[in-house]
């Protein structure tokens, strides 16, 4: 039976985040200068690209969009089309069956763009490294700018990586 409850708990506010890792920011900023790449500004639009993940990384990315981490307060948000994206957030060991899809997404993303390989699989294939069906990570198809390791990386870790990217891009 469905009955309304008298007591209504309030939702918690977003938690304060750790300070951004200055070393990563400096490395990313150097990279930007070296490539004389235009800075993207105070806001990054992210397109998630699944290249064969087990759904573990996706669970943790979804957690980021919830009220506890509240990604949007930092100027980070997810978009549905690579044409609207500044960043491709790639998960999975890059299966051979998804290589073309990743390349199409990359081609569709306007310059300047960044590629983040998220999770051990995307970094180098992870446990699936060497399988006939995978290409051992994102970097074997497109150039990767930032890697976030972990199986899967925790939301706090993902957030720290994405915020470093944002800092490096801030004018």
């Amino acid at each position: 039976m469905l009955k309304p409850t008298a007591r209504r708990t309030t939702l918690p506010p977003a938690e304060p985040a750790e300070p951004v890792d200055t070393e990563t920011v400096a490395l990313l900023a150097d990279r930007l200068r070296a490539a004389s790449q235009a800075r993207l500004g105070h806001e990054l639009a992210i397109r998630h690209v699944n290249t064969g993940s087990c759904n573990g990384c996706e669970l943790e990315i979804r957690a980021l969009t919830g009220v506890v981490y509240n990604l949007t307060r930092f100027g980070l948000h997810f978009v549905d089309s690579p044409r609207h994206a500044d960043v491709l957030l790639v998960t999975g060991p890059l299966t051979r069956n998804l290589r073309q899809a990743l390349e199409q997404a990359w081609d569709a993303t306007p310059e300047p763009k960044w590629v983040v390989a998220l999770g051990d699989c995307a970094v180098d294939g992870g446990v699936f490294k060497g399988s006939y069906a995978v290409m051992d990570g994102t970097s074997n198809a497109i150039q990767v700018d930032l890697t976030i390791s972990g199986c899967p990386p925790s939301p706090a870790r993902i957030l720290s990586g994405l915020r470093a990217l944002l800092e490096a891009n801030s004018p």
């Binding site: 409850t5 708990t9 064969g52 087990c54 759904n55 573990g56 979804r62 446990v127």
Partner: protein
Amino acid sequence: MSRALEIVEPAPREPCRPWPRHVLSAAQWSDLVREPVTLLAAWADPMQVLALFEDPFSETILLVSVAMDAGFYPALSPHHPGARFYERMIRDLWGHMAAGGDDGSWLDHGHWPHSKPLAIRPGPRPPTADPPEFQPVPEDTLMQWPIGPIGLGIGEAHHLRLTLDGTRIVRAESRLGYTHKGALTLMRSKSPRIAARFAARLAGDSTVAHSIAFAKATEAALAVLAPPRAVGLRGLMLRLERIATNLDDLGTIAGMVGAPEAQARCGVRQEYLRRGLADAFGHRLMMDCVVPGGVSADADANGLAALRQVLAALEDEIPQIRYLFGTGVLAARLTGLGVIAGGDAAQRCRVRLRAIDRDTGAAIDLLTDLPEGQLAVVLPLESGEGLGKAASARGDIWHWLRLDHGQIAAVFPRDPGWALWPLAEAALASSEARDAGSICASLGLPVSGMDL
């Protein structure tokens, strides 16, 4: 005795624990397939095709196999429509053809370095890539809408092809295999302890359930029992994983139909639960915590205390979440959505809420009464065949394996996705195109575990 039992009874048996494997002739196989038995899974090894049935009359599990006859076996799909995807998968991985069945491709899209990777002699690489084939559009007034493999939102990679008449879906066809990682080849010739890492990464949302089914199959094959404390911890982890996955599914569905409060509440509870899991078991998803023979490490006492608080808070919150799903706009938006077998999206959400309720109570009980003792037993380096089962949030997971002196000779994990995708195709047909996303979300369609 039921008719199905009468068919398998005269056949020779191979020792498989806890259910023997009936080695059927092609005629017996065809007879059994015609009976009203429930198909749970079908797979193969290089020499034969195996199938797992449940006989509803005698309530018995029937594991059967049939030897290949010049590369063919009698098809399952004419009598079990859900077997279509299994037949395609068996063709792609082992090269066995279903006589009278579906001979399309499923996992193999023509990009692998060789075909039939699990056959004794893998075949050459096909000359051209094999793009997914779909049924032709019958009339030129209809249009096709391709979705995926990189879908909308943060989810898994798959392809849906919707044939539309205006905004109404006339036919929905799915094509999977994009996330195929070659897990079965990686597990072969390894010890169960090492192969458990792959079993744990078949589906991240059901890593504990897959690990338990794999561990149980190994333990059955070797006739060993996990110690009582390991069994208790496994039961606890399985329930906690189901709660987290059900919360994730409910949150996703709520988000899809524009109910941010329900989505936020489910997300907050899931996040606090995952933190408790990290404290207690050292991993937010509990990956690699269950191993064949027991569990890999003991739970942290402070972490278990933290989990107790998380669960108590969740118990308090459940009425609020149930209220949001059961009344007002959310209920109205979910009612009548994706009707299949008499149930709609609203009903599927109620099933999930009940499961969260039940699992929370059971987890609290388990926490107060965890047996003491050792965590794992040593696995003997012996040969044997075994089946194991675990109930994930998405449905039953079965693992079968054959060990040869402590090494895996053949293995197959059956993910609930095999049963859910055919349902999704049926539920989408005659629905509105704009509802496709929420219908799929309400079914909680897993991809990776099924893509192997």
